[in-house]
């Protein structure tokens, strides 16, 4: 007895996975070419991204921001866009920042690279570069996230008792003598506490610091959903989640939030919070890495949805035929 030939619907349920992989590679690569990557897709930022951008733009000029950068190059696809847009915004607003990590010893090497690259970008555009000691301090790695964050909450000057080189004197001095941290006595004195992470280090930050300072998060999509209960309860004031979050922030850097353009039209309205406004970023790059990857992202998601749909249609039709 000859075996039944598979029907069309059975065949479409069993396409070789290597063909799918190849299609994914092609679909994610083509939109990266310059002819496509220069297209800026229209966007509607999510409410939590809007809240994030509003909080960042509300920090007064000259205030210090703490940046806890806990990611490494393994999640560059999302977190690189986050840190680049954050640094561009902070530098354009002339905010000072202290940057460190509590999660990964590889992280300081990673964030230093991005501070250098954004500085180089500013130099090429004729803007002022950010200098260590005067404009920012690099506090490097603190092992034991739980203990360090507890200590930041109780006595930030004790845990941040590191020394960095003061370029003026050439000597190593305590970081709290620098212009960046001299006015910070407790963690509540900072303008904003930003966590950029790919792990649950933001959980630990929220557990220990959310009642002491304003915390916002820039995280990968994997842990994004777990930030939303904290956002809903007010423990974090805003969240930029994954690649979409990076694109949202870049979009608002370009068009502002509840900000009317030259024709009076508001490109990014914030539903329910029409009275809160945030300006666009006036100097430096705005649309960048996030938007570069966004079209490829559309193609990849469309492929996934198509694959799931085709698989289910195949299953239903095959069942019907058998019945």
């Amino acid at each position: 007895m000859t075996p039944e030939k598979p029907t069309f619907f059975e065949k479409i349920q069993n396409v070789d996975k290597r063909i799918l992989y190849l299609i994914l590679i092609v679909l994610t690569t083509i939109p990266l070419f310059p002819m496509f990557s220069s297209i800026v897709l229209p966007n509607e930022p999510a409410p939590h991204s809007q809240a994030f951008y509003y909080q960042l733009m509300s920090v007064p000029e000259g205030k210090t921001v703490f940046i806890q950068s806990d990611w490494t190059l393994s999640t560059r696809g999302e977190n690189a866009g986050h840190i680049e847009s954050l640094l561009r915004t902070v530098m354009s607003k002339k905010l000072k920042f202290a940057i460190y990590t509590v999660a990964d010893p590889q992280a300081p090497g990673v964030y230093r690279k991005y501070i250098q690259s954004v500085n180089a970008e500013r130099k090429r555009a004729g803007m002022k570069e950010y200098k260590q000691w005067e404009d920012y301090v690099d506090l490097s790695y603190f092992p034991n996230a739980e203990g360090t964050l507890n200590a930041i909450g109780s006595d930030v000057r004790k845990i941040f008792n590191k020394r960095v080189k003061d370029p003026a004197s050439g000597k190593d001095r305590l970081v709290f003598e620098s212009p960046v941290l001299k006015d910070v006595v407790k963690v509540g004195d900072v303008g904003l506490y930003v966590v950029i992470t790919a792990s649950n280090s933001f959980d630990r930050t929220v557990e220990r610091l959310s009642d002491k300072t304003k915390v916002v998060v820039m995280c990968t999509g994997v842990i994004g959903p777990s930030t939303l209960p904290f956002f809903q309860s007010g423990q974090i004031k805003g969240a930029s989640i994954g690649l979409k979050g990076a694109v949202d922030v870049e979009y608002m850097m370009k068009y502002g939030l509840n900000y009317p353009d030259s024709t009076g039209k508001i490109k990014v309205p914030w539903s329910g919070k029409e009275e809160l406004k945030a300006d666009p970023v006036v100097e430096g790059m705005t649309i960048a890495r996030g938007s570069l990857y966004f079209m490829s992202f559309h193609a990849a998601i469309a492929l996934l949805i198509l694959a799931v749909t085709v698989g289910n249609i195949g299953m239903f039709m095959a069942r019907r035929k058998k019945a």
Partner: protein, 254 residues
Amino acid sequence: MTQSQIDLFNAIKITCGVLATLGLYSVLYKETKFFRFFEHVFLGLAAGYAIVALWKETLYPTWWLKMTGVMNEGVMAEPAYWVYIILLPIGLLGYFVFSKKHNWLSRIPIGIILGLWAGQQVQIWWQTNGPQIYSSMQPVIPTETTSFFKPITTGAGFTPERIAEINAQIWPSQAINNFIFVVTLLAAFTYFVYSIELKTPVLKGFNKLGRWMLMIGFGAIFGSTVMARFALVIDRMYYLWFEWLESIMRVFGR
């Protein structure tokens, strides 16, 4: 090093990275010795880096420098707290796990680590979940019933006082939203109740509803995870095609 030497090094570095990436990606076609070679290189590098990082990033700054102090141009910057030496034998007790007779000693450093973790849980639980419990107590009874839906305030020309008055009330549509929120939370939460038997149809139905609500949450997690992983693939494609080509062109294109 001159700039051209730096560019050459970067090109070699990125080329090695590309080869390693393609080596690992070859498993998508078929598992071969080529993939296994790169897999073992990766494991070896990761283990070796952990050995370097544990001294460089952890033991040296937080233990050795604390124990031996720091001198800065002949002046004492940090004193030497010699008592930190006791952490070394305590940590080394962990290696008694290989001893058949004395392996109970390895539980001492583990006990210290777990004790410190456990002591923090009380504080953490309340600080994390306290505000969430509070914000979960949503009003489910409407305070204003002149309209089912909340009046639209955007562009409606209301005075700020009227807008504040509208926002202060709970309208029936909001009460329903809040009710759905609370029911979803309680249903999903009761799914984790294992200590009592769910006998009545109401409890069983509620438990089933909780399972469906959890599926909605897991759907959100799946969607977000998909976004994250695809972003990483796109970044790898950018690295493979564009960053590598750019580095090669910088070497030859001068």
